[in-house]
């Protein structure tokens, strides 16, 4: 590559880094800035740093409760969709099914489903079943919405398992449960991790359903609590920044510690057919 092309590439990378690092840093800085200095810029840097916004968010807002709700709902959603998704993906990948082509088409089509299309009937359904403002309601809706992508991803990962491993276990007399427990799940582990991460992130980040089906802090998730963050006279930018940092914790951990699985899932979701 010529020196000029290399310089151009360097410039693009530096600009991209700045475009992402600066907003992240600005929000982080805002979360530590004294209240009085928030609206007084320049100077860009504060005279001192304070934890007061974090204290306010953790002791006087619904955020702690919302964190618990989000964590519980996202975890249960992930478990539910894997519990239903693993056997279904196995059936799609390995077993004869009546109407398989149609089933596959339905799965692909429902990954394109816009949430707004079903939000009004689901709202009525939630009301009838008295599931509004409960974890159960949101977990059911999130899990069923995540299920098509879960099956799609997992079916791809199942196909990568060598069939010989299953045949050997079958010859040794392993029943279906033992087969899942000792052969399929262990061989599927990295794929399960990728799929679980994407499902967890979907549920953690989801806003439209969570906003519509929750009423109080009994079930409000982090994005909803953040969108509805109350201000008395002024918008509490420092508190919002601190709450944003808390809301970003699981995504940060996933991106830094589990990046390999995240990228694998992302690529598999787009490329598998």
């Amino acid at each position: 590559m010529s020196p000029r092309a290399r310089t151009l590439a360097d410039v693009v990378v530096v600009l991209a880094l700045a475009a992402y690092a600066i907003p992240f840093f600005w929000q982080l800085l805002t979360s530590f800035k004294p209240e009085a200095e928030l609206l007084r810029v320049p100077p860009l840097l504060p005279s001192r740093l304070t934890l007061s916004h974090y204290t306010a968010v953790l002791t006087q807002s619904v955020m702690p409760r919302a964190l618990v709700n989000s964590f519980g709902i996202a975890t249960l959603t992930t478990l539910m969709s894997l519990l239903a998704g693993v056997p279904a993906a196995y059936a799609v990948a390995r077993l004869p099914l009546p109407g398989k082509r149609f089933l596959l088409l339905a799965i692909v089509a429902s990954t394109a489903f816009p949430q707004i299309a079903t939000v009004s009937p689901l709202y009525l359904l939630m009301r009838t079943l008295e599931l509004r403002d409960t974890w159960t309601g949101l977990v059911l809706v999130h899990a069923s919405f995540a299920l098509p992508l879960t099956i799609w991803l997992l079916a791809g990962f199942v196909r990568e398992i060598p069939i010989e491993a299953e045949e050997a276990a079958s010859v040794d007399g392993a029943g279906p449960v033992a087969m899942f427990r000792w052969v399929i799940v262990p061989l599927l582990a990295p794929g399960l991790a990728s799929t679980a991460l994407l499902t967890f992130l979907f549920s953690w980040n989801e806003f439209l359903f969570a906003y519509t089906f929750t009423v109080s802090e009994a079930s409000r998730t982090i994005p909803v609590a953040l969108a509805l963050f109350p201000g008395v006279f002024e918008v509490p930018w420092g508190d919002i920044a601190a709450a944003s940092m808390l809301a970003s914790l699981p995504p940060v951990v996933i991106v830094i510690a589990l990046q390999r699985f995240l990228v694998r899932g992302l690529v598999a979701g787009a490329v598998k057919e």
């Binding site: 092309a5 290399r6 590439a9 360097d10 693009v12 990378v13 991209a16 992402y20 690092a21 907003p23 992240f24 600005w26 929000q27 805002t30 860009l44 239903a84 998704g85 056997p87 279904a88 059936a91 077993l95 004869p96 099914l97 009546p98 089509a109 394109a112 489903f113 816009p114 949430q115 707004i116 299309a117 079903t118 009004s120 009937p121 689901l122 709202y123 059911l140 809706v141 069923s144 919405f145 953690w204 980040n205 806003f207 439209l208 519509t212 994005p223 909803v224 953040l226 969108a227 930018w237 919002i240 920044a241 809301a247 970003s248 991106v255 990046q259 990228v263 690529v267 787009a270 490329v271």
Partner: protein, 290 residues
């Protein structure tokens, strides 16, 4: 049919049953119900509930706000997808040339994509603040009201969306570039291909299929986008950032017109499915290989 085959078939049905049940009750059934709702006039607060046939759709045909929302959806989708794809490819190619800092760059990009859209919206609301926002400060103490001025509000929302979702395109392209063997480029160099020729004849064609897929996913997401404009502007100022999805939502849950709102959501539904179908045909046709 042998005993083994019959057993496999039974096993398959058992394995798929929970999924069919869940999707049946929570996706397919609501999907049919919304069509039925869209044919009704239902305003619970006034206790109105009657069959209305195609009245809601007939009203939409002459509804200026609906057509304006349709136009906003089109501008938002075309604008954000075009920018995301162009910038995503550029960033992926540029990162691929670096020896160091790849992981840092990838982490920053992935973080923007992985955090809740509401967090990104709040971040941009603060960056766009008329007096204390970083954007205005960096532009030299202007006091542009990014989210309150009808002329710049939609571009500002598009920019926030591009920031949040360009990483998806970049990461997919970058992963594809990593899979291209180095000897392809060496061979091109031996044949005397310049860097422009290398980019247009080798890199972009090899990215073709993944780019088409990334564009498909991004287009579908942009058409049904909700969080970012709902939190940033709520559809304002003066309705300039109100997309079809936001219009449907406000009709359903702010003015509580369940029938009419459902008709608008059916339009979004049909639009998304039509676009998905068109792209899939394009992929099937093998217009793009590799």
């Amino acid at each position: 049919m042998t005993g083994r085959e019959a057993a496999d078939r039974r096993r398959g049905l058992v394995y798929i049953a929970p999924t069919v049940l869940a999707l049946g009750v929570l996706t397919v059934y609501p999907g049919i119900w919304v069509l039925w709702l869209s044919l009704q006039r239902r305003i619970p607060i006034f206790d109105v509930s009657r069959f209305a046939g195609f009245e809601n759709y007939a009203f939409l045909a002459g509804d200026a706000r609906f057509w304006s929302a349709g136009k906003t959806t089109a501008v938002f989708t075309l604008g954000s997808v075009a920018l995301e794809v162009a910038l995503g490819v550029a960033v992926a190619v540029a990162i691929n040339t670096q020896r160091r800092g790849r992981r840092l760059a990838l982490s920053l990009l992935l973080l923007a994509w992985a955090m809740p859209a509401v967090v990104a919206a709040k971040l941009f609301e603060w960056l766009y603040h008329p007096s204390a926002g970083l954007v205005n400060v960096l532009l030299g103490r202007h006091s542009i009201n990014w989210l309150g001025d009808p002329v710049v509000a939609l571009p500002a929302v598009i920019f926030a969306d591009v920031w949040r979702t360009m990483p998806f395109v970049a990461v997919l392209c970058y992963a594809r570039l990593l899979a291209i063997p180095a000897d392809v480029y060496e061979a091109a160099q031996v044949d005397g291909a310049g860097r422009f020729a290398t980019l247009t004849r080798i890199t972009l064609p090899l990215l073709g299929r993944i780019l088409l897929l990334a564009t498909l996913f991004r287009t579908l997401d942009a058409l049904r986008a909700f969080d970012i404009m709902f939190v940033l502007t709520g559809g304002g100022p003066a309705g300039t950032t109100e997309t079809l999805t936001v219009y449907a939502y406000r009709a359903l849950f702010q003015t509580l017109q369940l029938g009419f709102g459902s008709a608008v959501s059916v339009v979004v539904f049909v639009l998304v499915m039509a676009v998905a179908w068109a792209y899939l045909r394009l992929l099937r046709a093998g217009a793009v290989t590799a």
